[in-house]
């Protein structure tokens, strides 16, 4: 689906990365720095954050208060048993009313907390996703050409989603958790230092088990994720390339390979999940242990008269409150790990350098005349393998220049450089005598319309796909452009005409029809400079001639660059440039070049003489 003749980044070993689309959950490299940046994102909604902090504080304090009131109430009841006196109803009721008030207040604050946390997490995630997208849309083409698309997609979706989930669940619980732990500890110490000390055994156990378990988890979870990533890569490749799979009868091999990855995934999946599955019961066991420690030791202490029965009740609640945040942390450990690793991947994209745009010469698309000058251009996609060597080319306003040459001779590169998809290594490209570096990128690109061989069709109507060339075009202008590019012939036969929805891959159109839509788009854009890069390769030549004639009329007074293999496409150009090995081998009109009997002549002979060579 790459939208061009991709640049020839030399291939070789060493580029063997992960599988395409692999979602590997690596451990974060720089946990602290990443967490800090995440916090900065949260800090953007200061008001919400303060509200959240405020209510969490209240909820936590009330949470600490409630068991005290409960304990007093129980003690009132116990006193009536122990002393055989009648129940102090008034005292009991007073305590219960207090308890009710504290519960109601706490519930109300919990409500505010929930709303604030939801807003905070969704705000954060929305801002982050927006920022990431803006960054993505400003990344140089080079980045997209050299990074697996599946991986970029997964950062945008999976990684941000996992941050979202973690932020909404973990932030509030982390804050209230740490407050609760401190507060509970103080109250427990006030009630009974001895019982507190004993019940700390469970804390010790929790910490011990968590660190031990997480060491194993760190071993198996990434392995599980890795094989899941490899499997997903395989699925993507086989499903997207399914036609080729079928054409070569490779279904069984694909299944075989799938089966062997799947088996490995199962192996590590069982290990990782079994570990995760025992984590919960283990924590529950420790919590039960805490329960019995308090019941048994508390009972003993109560018999000795060191503490009251109500204290036992209160302690049971407090010890639960104390260990709960620890358990939550333990349960969310894997989730938090994944989120931080995800945040790191997201920030990595945000830290990529965006396209350079230092242009400040006021030369807008309307001002452009169309005088193009490549002077002494050197360029290579990979160091040591030059694609263009001392390339020189001047195109006059209104001139039509055709670039021909063997595949890989650097034709598409010329386009990549003029549109500044890539930057030259040496030399200067000038537009109307201004170095294109000094023209604002947006204005430069607005003055150029480009049609590529691999067309891009958006999941939208035919009309809107054409309108992509100029947003404010009227319906009449769209239809005019469609007529000119012969889109009308098939569009009007469709059930809903120009309002027919196209699928993202343009599945309901033939390759040639997709190219026609792309041409209509460029026609509508009405640019000063037109670039056709193999734009008609899948269109039959009669349609092409018709379009070309219309285009020639349209392109009068505009500059155009045409790359094509068909001589019929290029014959009418004012000048034909033959590229060979990154240099201009020949230049001139069709007749001149034929008369020269050089490489163009040979190309021409090939075409005309067919099998004769």
């Amino acid at each position: 689906m790459a939208d061009t003749n991709p640049p020839r980044v030399p291939i070789g070993p060493g580029r063997r990365g992960g599988p395409p689309g692999a979602v590997t959950v690596e451990k974060a490299q720089n946990v602290k720095g990443t967490a800090k940046r995440l916090l900065i994102y949260l800090g953007k909604s200061k008001r919400l954050l303060f509200i959240l902090l405020g209510v969490v504080l209240i909820v936590t304090l009330l949470g600490l208060l409630a068991p005290v009131l409960q304990q007093r109430a129980i003690d009132v009841i116990a006193a009536c048993v122990q002393t055989n006196l009648p129940l102090q109803v008034e005292r009991l009721l007073r305590l219960l009313v207090l308890l009710l008030i504290s519960y109601l207040l706490s519930s109300f604050c919990t409500f505010i907390q929930g709303i604030a946390a939801a807003n905070l997490s969704q705000n954060t995630v929305r801002t982050m996703r927006d920022d990431l997208f803006i960054r993505l849309s400003r990344l140089p083409i080079k980045y997209l050409d050299t990074h697996p698309h599946g991986d970029i997609m997964s950062r945008m979706t999976n990684d941000v989603e996992s941050i979202s989930n973690t932020v909404s669940t973990s932030i509030a619980s982390l804050i209230s958790g740490s407050l609760t732990v401190v507060g509970t500890l103080i109250i427990m110490l006030i009630y009974s230092p001895l019982l507190t000390l004993i019940s700390m055994i469970t804390v010790l156990l929790t910490v011990l088990v968590t660190t031990r378990m997480s060491r194993y988890m760190r071993k198996y979870f990434p392995k599980q994720q890795k094989y899941l990533g490899i499997l997903n890569g395989h699925i993507e490749e086989m499903v997207i390339g399914y036609r080729t799979v079928v054409a070569f009868g490779r279904e069984e091999e694909a299944e075989h390979q799938f089966g062997s990855i799947n088996k490995k995934l199962k192996k590590y999946g069982i290990r990782a999940q079994a570990l995760g599955g025992t984590m919960g019961p283990l924590m529950m066991f420790i919590s039960n242990l805490g329960f019995l420690i308090i019941a048994a030791f508390g009972g003993w202490f109560a018999i000795e008269g060191w503490i009251s029965v109500g204290t036992i009740a209160a302690f049971i609640q407090y010890s639960k409150q104390f260990t709960r945040p620890l358990h939550e942390l333990a349960n969310q450990y894997a989730q938090i790990q994944t989120a931080i690793a995800g945040a790191e991947r997201v920030f990595a994209v945000m830290d990529e350098k965006s396209e350079i745009d230092e242009g400040n010469v006021p030369h807008t698309a309307e001002d452009v005349i169309g005088n193009i000058d490549f002077s002494h251009i050197h360029f290579s996609y990979k160091e040591g393998e030059p694609v263009l060597k001392d390339f020189d080319l001047q195109v006059k306003p209104g001139e039509t220049v055709a670039l021909v040459g063997a595949t890989g001779s650097g034709k598409t590169t010329v386009v990549n450089l003029l549109t500044r998809f890539y930057e030259v290594d040496q030399g200067v490209i000038r537009l109307d005598d201004i170095p294109i570096r000094e023209i604002k990128k947006d204005e430069l690109r607005k003055s150029i319309a480009i049609v590529l061989q691999d067309t891009v069709i958006f999941a939208d109507t035919i009309a809107n796909n054409i309108r992509y060339g100029r947003e404010d075009a009227t319906d009449e202008a769209v239809v005019r452009a469609a007529r000119l590019a012969r889109v009308d012939r098939f569009a009007e036969r469709m059930n809903e005409g120009y309002d027919t929805m196209l699928t993202e891959g343009g599945g309901n159109l033939s390759q040639g029809q997709r190219q026609l839509i792309a041409i209509a788009r460029a026609v509508l854009a009405d640019p000063k400079i037109l670039i056709l890069d193999e734009a008609t390769s899948n269109i039959d030549t009669r349609t092409e001639v018709y379009i070309q004639e219309a285009m020639i009329a349209l392109m009068k007074g505009r500059t155009s660059l045409i790359i094509a293999h068909r001589l019929s496409t290029i014959r009418d150009a004012d000048r034909i440039i033959v590229l060979e090995d990154g240099k201009i081998a020949e230049a001139g009109s069709h007749e001149q070049l034929l008369a020269q009997k050089g490489c163009y002549y040979r190309l021409y002979q090939n075409q005309f003489a067919g099998f004769a060579t």
């Binding site: 939208d3 980044v9 291939i11 070789g12 409960q70 009841i77 009991l92 308890l99 009710l100 409500f111 939801a118 997490s121 969704q122 705000n123 929305r126 997208f133 849309s137 400003r138 997209l144 997609m153 699925i235 490749e237 390339g241 036609r243 054409a247 070569f248 009868g249 299944e255 799938f258 995934l265 069982i270 999940q273 599955g277 025992t278 283990l282 529950m284 039960n288 019941a295 009972g299 109560a302 018999i303 040459g405 595949t407 890989g408 598409t412 319309a449 480009i450 699928t503 993202e504 390759q511 029809q513 390769s537 039959d540 009669r542 092409e544 019929s568 040979r602 090939n606 067919g610 099998f611």
Partner: protein, 575 residues
């Protein structure tokens, strides 16, 4: 086919899990009960030995419970991972059998999601979600039973609070479930905008539409986060209300407990235990909302997988093995339209014969049905009426495997796979020797540039061939097809990105090396096809003319038109 069938082989394990969990939860449920005994019979009766005895009993129970839980965890993962693996294998197997009209209908993106995310969701359902539900259920009912067995009078509190709770939860689920679905569609929208921008970056940049795209994305993103926010707000509202009900219940228990204790109908420890139980019961209700969310998601995933599993390939394999290698093709009155487009016929009454070793070219306008015609031969799609025969028998009578193994098909869009150049070529014939690979690459005019790579045939092709030029990809795809040593070679406009010189060399090499192979080719350039034995001119899905280049020049106006569009000046110059 029901997904439950995939559970069957592991049903023993899947039954064992809840059983182990019963042990775990029972052990938990008895803890507050025992605690109340410590208080009532131990502390208040000053009986230390009973405290110690009960304490040890609790320890034993905790151990048994922990063991039960851990066992459930381990067995659950073994069962669910095995189930997931089988399901994944079966679904992938199914996808690999689908006919193109079916993969077209599902769309590749959706098939990928079904095979990855959806299966993972169902697998999670089979383990964590189910375990959570079992736990919630047992805690709920177990808690009620334990509480009533403490003292039936506590039932009064339950009778009052439970209906309110249940009502609230039902209300929430009723409001939330459409939102969950909405979240999913909104997420899809965000994903598709990103996808379009990643793959279409050049067009977005060329037309300076970054701002437009950004605003499009913002809109999709806002819609998603808004819906998410609505769901979370619902949750944020429900939980505090449930908490109020729960807390009032606790107060009621203390109040009732107080009076009952005074009347010697109840004991203090029982009141304490009852508080623990009611908290447990109501907490389990609060997690129902969460459960439901997971469950709806997994259920949606399950039906999406079921849809794939229940799709039977419409193109069915025949019985006979195709063995002869003559490559004689005959189209008899073939008509074809794409499934679902009955009123838009693509091919009508097509009849022609291709002899063994003959080269037939097909020419025609954009959208005239050239690609469709070629795709009928390896049965990528089946004809609607008429028939196609190969070596005298209907292609539908051959097994798909043997039929396709005799055809080397080079698609319009050359798809390469991650791996080395060699691995990609071996797709044609996995047993090919190095000699054969090189020979195929030579014919396809690919050897020169392959050897130009750092590691030659062992160079790694990255990102679906993104590092190769269009012409290089096409030549690798052609070499791959040649390596198959087919009886029939089909080129679907597969040389469009080759420069003319290279294409001519390829034609010469094919003519030299593959004399007995029947060749069918679609191309746009007259030069590519003019030396074909026969040329068919397609116009609006019908054969408008056929013959050799010279014949057609004389007899067919359309052909002359096409020819003129490419050659008009040269004819006079060279004529």
């Amino acid at each position: 086919m029901k997904l439950i069938q995939f559970i069957k082989p592991y049903r023993k394990l899947f039954i064992l899990v809840p059983l182990c969990m019963v042990v775990e939860i029972m052990a938990e449920l008895f803890q507050p009960m025992l605690m109340s005994r410590i208080v009532d019979e131990g502390v208040l009766a000053y009986n230390l030995p009973l405290v110690i005895r009960t304490g040890l009993l609790m320890l034993g129970l905790a151990l048994i419970g922990g063991l039960g839980g851990a066992t459930a965890g381990v067995i659950g993962s073994v069962a669910s991972q095995s189930f997931g693996k089988d399901l994944r294998d079966a679904t992938f197997h199914k996808v690999m059998q689908l006919s193109f009209e079916q993969t077209d209908r599902f769309t590749t993106g959706s098939l990928v999601t079904r095979l990855t995310n959806d299966i993972t969701a169902v697998q999670d359902l089979s383990n964590t979600v189910t375990r959570g539900m079992v736990r919630t259920l047992f805690q709920f009912f177990g808690g009620i039973v334990m509480m009533l067995s403490l003292n039936v009078r506590f039932g009064l509190v339950l009778v009052c609070s439970l209906p309110i709770q249940i009502l609230l939860i039902v209300l929430l689920l009723w409001k939330a479930s459409p939102l969950y679905l909405l979240v999913q569609t909104r997420l899809d929208r965000v994903n598709s905008v990103v996808q379009e921008n990643v793959t279409g970056a050049r067009v977005v940049k060329a037309y300076v539409r970054e701002d437009y795209e950004t605003s499009r994305f913002r809109k999709a993103n806002l819609a998603l986060t808004d819906t998410n926010l609505k769901v979370q707000k619902l949750m944020a509202t429900l939980n505090p209300i449930l908490m109020v009900v729960m807390n009032i219940s606790v107060i009621a228990i203390i109040l009732i407990g107080g009076f009952q204790t005074e009347a010697r109908q109840m004991q203090v420890g029982q009141v304490m235990a009852a508080i623990t139980y009611i908290t447990q019961i109501l907490m389990s209700m609060m997690s129902v909302g969460m459960m439901f969310q997971n469950f709806t998601r997994a259920y949606a995933s399950a039906s999406r997988i079921r849809e794939v599993l229940n799709t039977d390939p419409v193109i069915r394999s025949g019985e006979r093995q195709l063995t002869s290698g003559r490559g004689v093709i005959e189209f008899r009155d073939v008509s074809f339209h794409y499934p679902g487009f009955q009123n838009r016929p693509v091919l009508q009454d097509i009849s022609f014969t291709v002899k063994s070793g003959e080269t037939v070219a097909i020419l025609g306008a954009t959208g005239s049905g050239k690609t469709s015609l070629l795709q009928l031969i390896p049965r990528f799609y089946d004809v609607n009426t008429g028939s196609i025969t190969l070596d005298g028998a209907d292609i539908r009578s051959y097994t798909l495997e043997s039929l396709r193994s005799h055809i080397g098909f080079v698609l319009q869009k050359s798809e390469l796979f991650s791996g080395t150049v060699r691995e990609n070529l071996l797709w044609g014939n996995s047993d090919a020797t190095d000699e054969e690979i090189r020979h195929a690459a030579q014919i396809a005019q690919a050897e020169e540039f392959i050897l130009g790579f750092h590691s030659g045939y062992d160079s790694v092709i990255s990102e679906k061939g993104a590092s190769l030029s269009g012409g290089q990809k096409q030549r690798l795809a052609i070499a791959r097809a040649i390596l198959k040593k087919p009886d029939i070679l089909v080129f679907d406009d597969a040389t469009s990105a080759l420069d003319l010189g290279t294409e001519a060399k390829l034609r010469a090499a094919l003519r030299e090396e593959m004399k007995n192979v029947t060749i069918l080719m679609v191309a746009q350039r007259i030069a590519s096809i003019r030396h074909a034995d026969r040329i068919l001119v397609l116009e609006n899905g019908e054969i408008a003319a056929s013959g050799t280049h010279d014949e057609l020049l004389r007899t067919s106006e359309i052909y002359r038109d096409i020819y003129d569009s490419q050659m008009r000046e040269e004819v006079t110059e060279n004529g």
